[in-house]
């Protein structure tokens, strides 16, 4: 027994005791192959998954090293069966390789003949493989490169893609590092991506993913297609690229519902790409419009399913995925792995915060007690309406105002999921509202005012969840959400996590109605935050409405 910081569980989770002296060394040792699942304050949970082990294998780690790390840091003996399983799983990666054969083009090469025979027989690969060239090689139709990788992953024999990339149309791009520099972790992320060829970089909101994208473009020095979630996020990318690189506004095109510009660097929204007319995707030509040297996917965890299908056809281009989390609500992590690439860089939020790049946030849950009339109304509501009734209780309004007043000097975002409630809040707080129906122009104006400080309080609907850079928001007050989505919580917290000019404390409030389904959803959402290491404080609405308590200041 080494008395190490790590405890290995039978279900292949690893518990890391963070207060242990060797915890940091252990984290470095296991991070390449284990995925951080939860990081509450004392014991972090990592998980050994086939994907994680293959990610490690792709990065050049071998099974021996993984086993050694487990044994070295484990406090208790590690079961033999688990060690065997780890070794066997890792051994499966790379038994098959996709390579470019000078004579036959794209081929699937088996370092293990038996595996090649096994997969060649599989029905799932029907139609993807061509003729057998020799014992160890089978021709592959170039168009099936992506789908083949997907299918092989499903069979449990992930192929190593060594077929290389096309360079694409060259275009000079340099980072304009005047008075600023890439942060060290951004530099590492770019290096990790570039040496791996394609893959995903995981960084929290506000950690500067856009800069990682810009730096990757500077490495590629080629025409680039950037896919983003919506138009506002796209304009933000454009602003950032103009400011941080040698690119001029004329070189960057916007391909959205409003404009269809194709330039050396083109920013397109998921929405326009997935829009259909008469059952067919009308904007697919964009992928072939130029000889793209790099494709960047912003917010990979939101990548819509059709984009996966298009991506399967883009396997010869370098692909960079950017995201805050690999957790997909639809569980298609495997498709991200096989189509965009293995994870190339990952940093836990708390670590980045400790480096000072992200404003530390204080999370508070404010519980309001419904009035008897509201309780009665809630009690007789149909099940599918209960959450709306509980979340939009009028009792929340004075509490929200009290919170806004408490942080009178700070930029405050009030976030809600129901339009009626947002209007109530807007009237009550005398603040403008940004919602789905707000025009892009109006949004830009309001966001600009908010950024400049002319506007102190802004009420936003679900549109606020994604990719709006409002770095000066120091306080976020969440009034209602959509049924406890973990992803949403991460996004909303991201709103206030952007670095503040003066390193002020950020605040994240959730106002919930006590003893209703609202509390239950809130509990589900906060669990995600607690797992990310943010402890919640729970306070009673009466404490907020009354004189400010000295402890909360």
């Amino acid at each position: 027994m080494s008395g190490g910081p790590l405890i290995v569980q039978s279900d292949k989770t690893l518990l890391l005791e963070v207060d242990h002296a060797d915890a940091q060394a252990c984290r470095m040792a296991i991070a390449p192959f284990a995925e951080l699942e939860r990081s509450p304050e004392h014991v972090h949970t990592y998980r050994l998954t086939p994907l994680g082990l293959w990610n490690a294998r792709a990065a050049g780690h071998d099974a021996e090293g993984v086993v050694d790390a487990l044994i070295k840091f484990s406090r208790y003996p590690v079961p033999h069966a688990l060690l065997v399983d780890v070794a066997e799983t890792m051994d499966r990666y790379g038994r098959l390789q996709l390579v470019n054969d000078p004579n036959h083009g794209l081929v699937l090469r088996g370092l293990d003949k038996i595996v090649l025979i096994e997969v060649a027989k599989s029905k799932k690969l029907a139609g993807m493989l061509g003729s057998r060239i020799d014992d160890e090689t089978i021709a592959v139709h170039a168009s099936e490169r992506g789908r083949l990788k997907q299918a092989l992953l499903k069979l449990g024999w992930p192929a190593e893609d060594l077929a290389g990339y096309v360079d694409g149309e060259a275009h000079p791009i340099e980072l304009a590092e005047d008075g600023w520099h890439l942060r060290s972790y951004q530099q590492e992320a770019v290096e990790g991506f570039w040496s791996g060829g394609s893959g995903v970089v995981v960084l929290p909101c506000g950690a500067g993913k856009t800069l990682v994208g810009a730096a990757a473009m500077a490495c590629a020095k080629a025409t680039t297609l950037i896919l983003v979630t919506n138009t506002v996020a796209g304009r933000q990318w454009k602003r950032e690229l103009v400011a941080r690189t040698s690119l001029t506004p004329d070189e960057i095109g916007e391909y959205s519902g409003e404009r269809k510009e194709i330039r050396p660097v083109t920013i397109a929204t998921y929405q326009v790409l997935t829009s259909r007319r008469g059952g067919t995707f009308t904007h697919l030509d964009l992928f072939g419009a130029r000889d793209w040297g790099l494709v960047i996917y912003d917010e990979v965890h939101l990548l819509p399913a059709p984009i996966f299908r298009f991506t399967a056809d883009l396997q010869a281009r370098r692909r960079l995925g950017l995201t805050a989390t690999l957790v997909r609500e639809d569980g298609r992590e495997g498709d991200v792995f096989s189509l965009i690439g293995p994870k190339r860089y990952d940093a836990p939020w708390k670590d980045i915060e400790a480096q000072g790049w992200i404003a530390p946030a204080e999370c508070t849950e404010v519980r309001v007690t419904l009035t008897d009339a509201e309780r009665m109304a809630y009690a007789v509501t149909e099940a599918d309406e209960r959450y709306r009734v509980a979340a939009t209780a009028r009792t929340k309004l004075p509490v929200v105002r009290a919170l806004v007043d408490r942080h009178a000097g700070d930029q405050t975002l009030v976030i809600g999921g129901y339009i009626d409630q947002l209007h109530e809040l807007g009237d009550y707080l005398d603040a403008p509202i940004v919602q789905g129906s707000t025009t892009n122009k109006e949004r830009e104006r309001l966001f600009d005012e908010f950024r400049s400080g002319a506007l102190r309080t802004l009420v936003v609907s679900k549109v606020g969840n994604f990719s709006i850079d409002l770095p000066e928001a120091a306080v976020a007050i969440q009034v209602s959400g959509t049924f406890g989505s973990r992803q949403e919580e991460a996004q909303r917290l991201g709103r206030v996590l952007r670095p503040k000019a003066d390193r002020r404390q950020a605040h994240f409030y959730t106002v919930v109605s006590r003893d209703t389904i609202d509390t239950e959803y809130a509990a589900h959402r906060q669990r995600f935050l607690a797992e990310q290491g943010y402890a919640y404080t729970i306070v009673d609405a009466d404490d907020v409405l009354g004189p400010p308590l000295p402890t909360t200041e």
Binding site: L15, Y76, I538
Partner: protein, 805 residues
Amino acid sequence: MATTFADRLRSLTDEALGALIQLRPDLVVPVPSDLSALAARAQSRSSVARCLDTLDEFTLAILDAARLSRDAHGGVITVDAIVAQAAGADDADVRVAVDRLRARFLLHGPTDALHLVGAVEEVTSPYPAGLGRPAEMLEPQTAALAADRAKLRRTVLAAPAGARAVLDRLTAGPPIGSLNSAAMAEPVRWLVDNHVLVRVSDVGRMPHPAGELVELPREVGLLLRRETGPLGRLRARPPTPTEPVRNPAAVDSAGAGQVMEAVRNAEALLEALAAEPAPVLRTGGMGVRDLRRLARSLSLDERSVALLVEVTYAAGLLGEGGAASGSRAVHNGRATGTVDETFLPTTSYDLWRALPPAQRWESLARSWLAMPRQPGLVGQRDDRDRPINALSPDAERPGAPTARREALTTLAELPEGTAPGDAAVLELLAWQAPRRAKGREGTHRDALSGAAALGVTALGALTTYARVFLTDPVDEGDPLGVRGHPDAPGDTARALDHLLPSPVDHVLVQADLSVVVPGPPEPELAAELDVVAELESAGGASVHRITPASVRRALDSGYGAGDLHALFARRSRTPIPQAMTYLIDDTARRHGGLRAGPARAYLRSDDEALLTEVLADKRLSALGQRRLAPTVLICGYDQARLLAALRDAGYAPVAEDADGGMVLSRPRARRAPGRAPAATRPTDHPPVVLSGPRLAGVVEQIRRGDAAARATRRAPVTLRGATSTRTTGLTSVQAHGQAMAVLQQAVRDKARVWVGYVDSHGATLSRLVRPVSLSAGYLRAEDDRTETLHTFALHRITAAVAEEG
């Protein structure tokens, strides 16, 4: 010969005789009466076979060399000749092997005139060293070829490629091939035609020109083996693997991890069975469905679960018990039919659970070592292609314990940390005792995989505590180690104990409401967490989660909110997060906010004073009423009785139904269920009106039927009696002669008669017929009605009566 053998035994010193008995212990079971008897037994087939079973590959090869040299030298065996035969091996090794054979008296006599015990021939292959019989025993032409060595060599060299492959195959042994394969027909024909192979018959292996088998004569085999020597490849030393060698500490660590897994999984398995017992199949054993369910709940594969089920059963922790009345209803609907018994943890389980982990493991491992079963068979199919179930008689293998010992002892004899892998161990076993290992590869393999699953071996090597465990004598009085001395663990448990983590008594509570026990929990802590938290992940540590449901369960089982706070404050090394405090308080606040209880009837009134009066009324105190609210009383008796008592006491209550509506209590007049009057009943469909030929046909049919019926009615008394079931046939049976007379007359008259007869089913029937002839014991007669000719056996005719005018 027997006298000589006995004389040789007689001439032995006591020590030498003792040595023989040690080498062949079965010779003295039971103790023979004298040395002649001992000699007879030592030459018996069974004893010789048993002795051969213990010999290694090399010694057996040398025994074959002795047989070959005897054949080659006219029945005389000398040590030198044996050495010459075993040309491929070192002289000294061969002599040592010969000494081994002599010590066992398989070869006896002086070194220059050795005798082979006759029974050896009977219990070993007829082809020593895989060589066929000498050519002269097979066929004259082949013998002639064999005698001319140069010609033989030329012939063999001239063999086509296909024929050469056949020869090589047969040279490696056994020297017998089957002719069935069409592909080999041509090369084999060439060889047979050239007298290189001899056809022999399947039965008795006698040379036969049309035999289905071919045999390679010894001379040809020896010629082809000139490279390796007549005995083929010889391995004087065991193929002892030396690679790879693992660090013993790493082996022990991985093993200890597996030990914890095995013990934990065994406990989880038994707990799962306690929660939902598995029915015992009628054929014995546990059904596949239950095994799958257990595998799912334990997150293990079915193989591992089958092993655990077998081991816990062998350890006496799992047993058959009567189904509880409650669970029986659940199982009744299953395809297995009515189930009387289920697999449940036994009472020993509770004792076992209280032991320290090392001792728990030891009792499991000992039971595994000793159980005469092969768990690896579970899930495979038996001879009749039916799946073998866990705990079923089909998985019984009496040889399994020996096989396990053999496999583990083989590992134990290797240097510490050697991890040869299954194949190398099996090969070593095969060298050590080829006769015994043959056919037991499956059992050995199963032993090795079981050892790895239980942590007896790890990383392919034997753990140090398992070495102790193998040499540790089993305490006969307490084979399970359960009622033994928990304060005095055995050597094995002590060796293992320091490898296992010591139990912890504290937890780490986190803001996401997870509770981590950083090690195996103390029993008391485990019991507490069992109530207040849900287990999320187990292993070296255990992760529990506090949920509203788990807090409610704790409150239900008697904890108060204060108790829970105190529990976590006492057990937690980390500050209690506020979210947890809120969760407990919130849940406790709502706990019991609704109350449910039994009541047979209620009494309500808007007049509170009236209810107070009822409650205070002494005459009604027997009703056991309780006031729930100012306007509601409840009562433990049913509504009718409550009403009657109230009315007797002079009150005027009114009954209410379940919806609160008033129920009038005027008695209802009794009535039968209503029926529709006949007039309104739907009439039958009007009959179809027939006409034409169809109508005529119907009429004729009716007439004919009617004629037959009337005829039957007019059947004479004698016959009617015979056909009736009410009267016994005997009294009404006519004398046979009388019936014959009537029939003969009727043949002459061409008149119709009634014939009573017994049909082939034994029923008595009668028929009005017109006899045509009466001959050869048969009556042939016409039936006018059906216009067919009938034949009656005369002995079956009971009566005949002329038709009455």
